[in-house]
Structures are given as C-alpha cells and as structure tokens.
Symmetry: C2
Subunit: 195 residues, 2 copies
Amino acid sequence: MSKGQSTKRVILDEATEIASRTGLQALTIGTLAARTELSKSGLFAHFRSKESLQLEVLRHARDRFVDLVIRPALATPRGEQRVRALFEHWLSWCRGDALEGGCIFTAAATEFDDQPGAVRELLVNDERDLADTVAQVFRTGISEGRFRADADPYQFAQDLHGILLAYVHTARLLADPKAEQRARRAFEALLDAAR
Amino acid sequence: MSKGQSTKRVILDEATEIASRTGLQALTIGTLAARTELSKSGLFAHFRSKESLQLEVLRHARDRFVDLVIRPALATPRGEQRVRALFEHWLSWCRGDALEGGCIFTAAATEFDDQPGAVRELLVNDERDLADTVAQVFRTGISEGRFRADADPYQFAQDLHGILLAYVHTARLLADPKAEQRARRAFEALLDAAR
DNA sequence: GCCTAAAACGAACGGTCGTGCTAAAAAGGG
DNA sequence: CCCTTTTTAGCACGACCGTTCGTTTTAGGC
C-alpha cells in the first residue's frame, strides 16, 4: 500500500470516529487536519471536496459495518440462528463497540433525510441494502420453518430496526442502563410473534 | 402581547421549522435573520447567545408537541383508547403534519447525544418526561384491565418509541409508502402482546 | 543515489460564523 | 404629543469555514 493510501486510511478512521460523535456536517476539515496532525491543505488534497470526504467516510463506515455485522451474521447457520446473530452484532455496533460515537448511520440518516444530494442518495442506497439483507435473512428463517409462512419480511426488518433505534435513543441519550435488556426482550417478543 | 414578544414568536416559529429540517446546529443566526427579514444583530438581541436560541427553540417545539400530541391524548378516555390516541397523534407529529421537517426531537437527539451542555440536558429532561408520560398512560390501561398486570410500562414506552423511530426512518429517508401501514401493524402487535 | 512523481505544506482567498457596541427607529404610557 | 423604554439596524471584530495555488518535502522505482 502506498503512502497516500495509508494516510488516507488513517484520515478516514479518525473522520469516521468524529462523524459518529458529532455528525457528518460538524465534521470539519480543519479539526480533522488537527486531529490527524496534517495541514489543512495536505489533508484536503486527498479528497477534492467536502462532499467527497463525506461520501468516503460513509463508504468507509459501511465497510466496517459489513465486516463487523453482516459478514459474521451470514457466517452462522441459516434460519433463526442467523437472525439472532444479526441482531447481536447489530446491537454491539449500536452500543458503540466499534465506533465510540455510536451508530454513524443513525446520525447521518436524521441529518440528511431532508437534504437532497449525493450524500443522501448514498445513505438511502445503503439503508435499502440493509433492509433487503435483514428481510432476506428473515426469509431463510421462514423457509427453514422457524417462522410463519405468512410473516412479512419487510415488516420484520422495520420492526427490528425500530428496536435498535429505540435502544440507541434510550441508552445513549437517556443513559438508561436497562435499555439493552429491554431491546433483548423486544427482540424475543418479535421472534415469538413471528412463530 | 408586546412587539418584542410577537416578533420573538415569529422568529421561533421559523427557527423551529428550519431546525426540524436541518438540525439545531445547522440553524444559523444569519439564515434565520434572512428568513424572518430581520437584521442579524436585531434578531440576536432577542436571545443573548446561540445556545439560548437553541434552548428556546427546543422549548417552543416541546410546547407544540404537548398541544398537538400529549393534551389531545389525555383528553380521551383512560385505558386502551388513550394509548391509541397517543400513538395516532404522535404518528401524525412524526409524519410532519405540524413541522414540515419531521420530528425535531429525533433530529436533536442524535445530534446532541454525545455533546454535553445545556441543550443536551434539556433534551434529556424532555425525553424522560415523554417516556414517563407514555408509561403512565399505559399504566392506566393496566389498571383498567385492558393489559396484563405484569406488563412493564417502560418496556412499552421504549417499544412504542421504536415503532415511531423506525417509521420516521423508513418513511422520510427511504420514502417507503408502506412505512405507516407497517407502523400501525407493529403497534397492534405490541398491544396484542400486552394483553 | 538520482530523478520523477506523489504527497504534504504555507499562505491566502472570499464567505460566513457568533458576538459585541453604538446609534436610529419604533412603541406606548403619561 | 412628549419622553422613556423597547426594539431594530449598522458596522466591525476575530475566528473558522471550504477551497486554490505554488512551493517544498518525501517516496520509491530505476
């Protein structure tokens, strides 16, 4: 790997960390340069615009998400077990085990849901892919006979997402230690209802 | 009402609208002044700092939320009916019927969940109050015998919040027209499980 | 170890940010 | 209608924003 690529990865790691805490808008080139001990112009040269930086941060975060959540889930046996693995890894992601600032997508989603542009479009694509993946994983549970045949996979996907979003809200903002336990209970109830 | 108070209300109305779309951070004094056709300094005189503006916007939005969601719900008969009213008005709020930009609290929550300060504290207080209110409304459903006596009111509050958050995400970001229908299904499933 | 290409820097740009200060305009009770 | 108080405007400030450009430093193949 060339020098340029390696420093770019350092930059993106730090940028992803900052963005997960303060959002993609508040991620400023000046502070990012200071944090990585680079000059503003030296850093800027790696990206040709701020929007491009935001896009690369989002892609970088998505790669991490796939590595830490999606892939491990798909590595477990099809059916209910895989659904459980997906939930557990996703919960860990939201807890901030990977990014100290918590789920960067949740932050970006509320930041850009009303602001048209390339960032929003990338975000929409990623989130649609995620919903598709969740629905597909759930479908394998149906075909394995663990869930009702008439259960709606996309209903499951939206419900599961809600459990995670509520967990993030209750745990991170309200600092309620029971949030995780409630998320687990909600997940079990969701599985029960699908059986 | 004095002139100052009336223009202040105009400012706060506009500010709440902007903040619901772009967030409290992106709500800038310059653009707010342009939008209300006031000079920057003239507008600034009404608040003594940006943080104070953000706090007043949040309080203004909370008052609207109480008027449009909490009060109408409390005006319906105790028990399941009141729980349903709370859900329906809250859903309408999230749909953007009141604020074009959608739920301002959801946006602010993800924006400030990692940023200590007075804004975060106010937000935490408001959201705790909301959770308490939801739990209390659910409790009346228990005492009316509509829900299981051993159901956990705060579990219900977190679950209900998740349904709304997932609705916002799916409807506003993904622009999925089925989001609302799924939110209603999830709500009915939540009630069923509580019976 | 040289030479080219890549990478990082320093300085500057036009703008906008939040925030003061002072003066003008408007409001409104007497 | 005057006089005081309240409300608004004008102007300036230092800081930081994203971005450009020309120069200097570093990599890394030959």
